[in-house]
């Protein structure tokens, strides 16, 4: 039996505007259910004369539960909320319900940003964000909303500890690492050398738990670069994870000692930065042949780049 659109309000005075898919035989038509068809018919009608009313607001709520990706409904809803001077806290609570029901939906985050910005009160935000990240700890839109929030309300103080907890849960959660970088450098202030040292230690101890973990390596290299400190600073650390014996011109590898291909890669970078191209080339060859063979072409490219650079400067 077809479901009619049910509403607390009367719609008798509104002539719905039917969906026009274009032409006699449109591409990609959807066989909508009747309630959705009716509700979107009313939506097109009330939007056409920009109706501001309680029933329009109710319509947006009903439509969002039928199709939360309908961005037009969200923008109309935000306009209605402000025009009707609705309680914004109540709206935030309602959005939380939507979020729980549709955790993958991302329109809610832009909507929430609009509402919270106007409401000028972030008190509900961190708990809700945390709840959503528990469902999906790498949800891109949630993390990016959190960044907006931190900037907007100057909430930097909590962030390092939060990323620490998330990284503790899963040391490979790259979103948490990215957020940590934001927490340290995002404010744009000068970062003291002691904080840099702390972050280097933090990344190194994370690497020791899982030496192949690209998230921690990228963070470590990112911190060094941002602090304008040389990569050679971590040479010893890398040596412990990729115990290569080097002579003046070459690298010998005790194969049992390589616990991190990333460490070997960084060593190659360090040798290269010192123009020890023979040694760097050996390391890249090892990566290509044994420790990271799917990137063989990349390692060969690094090698030929270094050789060309040396030839050009010689």
């Amino acid at each position: 039996m077809p479901l009619a659109y049910l509403s607390d309000y009367s719609w008798d005075d509104v002539i719905p505007i039917p969906q026009d898919d274009g032409g006699e035989n449109p591409l990609a038509p959807i066989a909508y259910q009747d309630d959705y068809k009716t509700a979107t018919g009313y939506l097109r009608a009330v939007m056409s004369f920009e109706e501001v009313s309680e029933r329009a607001l109710q319509l947006t709520a009903d439509l969002i539960f039928m199709n939360p990706a309908h961005y037009t409904v969200w923008t109309y809803r935000a306009r209605l909320l402000f025009a009707l001077k609705k309680d914004l806290e109540e709206e935030l609570i309602w959005v939380e319900e939507v979020g729980r029901q549709f955790p993958k939906n991302y329109q809610i985050w832009n909507h929430r940003e609009v509402i919270v910005d106007k409401y000028d009160n972030p008190s509900r935000e961190l708990p809700f964000i945390e709840e959503m990240l528990e469902l999906d700890s790498k949800n891109y839109h949630v993390w990016s909303y959190r960044q907006w929030l931190v900037r907007r309300f100057d909430l930097w103080i909590t962030e390092l500890a939060y990323t620490d907890r998330m990284i503790e849960d899963d040391v490979r959660n790259n979103s948490a690492w990215n957020h940590r970088f934001f927490a340290v450098f995002g404010k744009g202030d000068d970062v003291s050398q002691s904080i840099i040292d702390d972050e280097i230690d933090y990344a190194e101890s994370a690497i020791l738990k899982a030496p192949q973990n690209a998230s921690a390596w990228n963070y470590l290299l990112g911190v060094l670069k941002c602090a304008k400190r040389p990569v050679s600073e971590i040479e010893e650390f890398c040596n412990d994870l990729a115990a290569v014996q080097t002579t003046e011109h070459s690298v010998d590898v005790d194969t049992d000692q390589i616990t991190s291909a990333r460490a070997l890669e960084v060593l190659a970078e360090i040798y290269d930065s010192r123009d020890e191209v023979d040694k760097a080339a050996d390391a890249w060859t090892l990566l290509a042949e044994k420790y990271d063979p799917i990137r063989e072409n990349y390692w060969k490219f690094k090698k030929s780049q270094a050789i060309h650079r040396l030839a050009a400067t010689a």
Binding site: R172, F181, I294
Partner: protein, 483 residues
Amino acid sequence: MHRRVHRTVFRSRAGSRSSNWSSPTSTSTSTSTSTASLVTTSCAKKSPRTRKPVSTNPNTRVAIAMTAEQNNVHNAEVSVVDSLITESSTAQDEVVRLCTGLIIDGQLPLLQRQLHADFLKIPMSFKLPPNYTGLDASKPWLIYWPLQALGILDPDSLTGDILSRIGPSIMACLNETEGAFGGGNGQISHLAATYACLNALAIARDEDVWSQINRERLYKWLMSIKRPDGGFSMHVGGEEDVRAVYCALASAALLNIITPELTEGTAEWISRCQTYEGGIGGAPDNEAHGGYAFCALASLCILGNPVEMIPKYLDVDNLLRWLSVRQYQPEGGFSGRTNKLVDGCYSWWVGGCWSILEGALFGITKEEILWSKADLQKFILCCCQSPKGGLRDKPGKSSDFYHSCYVLSGLSEVQHRYSFSLKLPGAGSGEWSFMWTCELELPDVVMVDEKNMVGPINPVHVLPAGIGERMHDFYAALDAVAA
């Protein structure tokens, strides 16, 4: 500069100053004798360096019987694996298990062309079931994705009847006062919708519909959602991200309405989206992500000469490093972010980054392919083909139009080598993204079965080669007359 002898057969080169990709079903009378449709076989005859056809038995799903080594693929698991178990590693192990179950040494399945074409024709033949309601605000994409996929998989299946239905279907999404498009009839103007609509109209090749686009209004609307920091919002009151930038610029390029005013500060804004990892996030501070990386690179290719723009606004070394880590062994596919899982759609988003970088920054030698095309081909053919038709994210997922579009576009990137060729004279703003040529990939990079060939694409616009060029030329010609 280019060491390879053989040039593209897809591109009309002689005669007109504005040499463009010829569209596969072009009816225009070109003066060029080298104009051809998607004739891959004529390629093989002309040059000894191009691919030799691999003999196949049509009755078997095995196209290439070679060892993994001969085939250049890496089916073995990596030699060093961490023992610490976390949520990420558990998910990763499961994907490796699913993929290795489908990857068999020495066997590469054929592309199930008919099955996929049948799947892709569903939106042209049937009403989509009610569970598609969630995509009701993505109507233009539901039209564009299958058209792009069929446009390279089976262009002949895009019959006159289908092409003639694109115009009305797309124009139903138009908001006349703004000249821009929404995600469906009666929905507010949106950049992603506008991009998908214009791409679909390009494929329609219908000049009557093209002349109905009000470019002045669309330009004003684009300016209205441009932000002071150089970025764009998706719609009035919408989110600002690099996808919006790409959709705005690609749309403006097709319509030949790029101006210095429209693009002021945009390259600088894109530059701010590159993260410490080397990849590019959706907005400044956001995590590096393959989809946004493509949008950023493609945008730079529209903003100016990519040979200059890319190194000027991005740290290329760091970007290359991050991109190269996107490919996983033994799956062979790309992931979109660090420590996330491989997913078929990144065959295009990450593969497209490679095609742009290789085409714009490197000459054309085998060494300058920095990743493994053979492994991506393996992932696509073994893991991304749904037995029910259509292509998918990964084993265990169902196929959909989005993944079909970007997995097949990724397969096209495997099979072709793109290059940016500065078109002189007359190169100018608004034309940069239409100066790409391509040729078949060399067999010593990747062995491709003739039966699996798909057509070339414009790597900036993600349209079958020649299609966007033709639409741009239509408007450029109008503007030349007006001037």
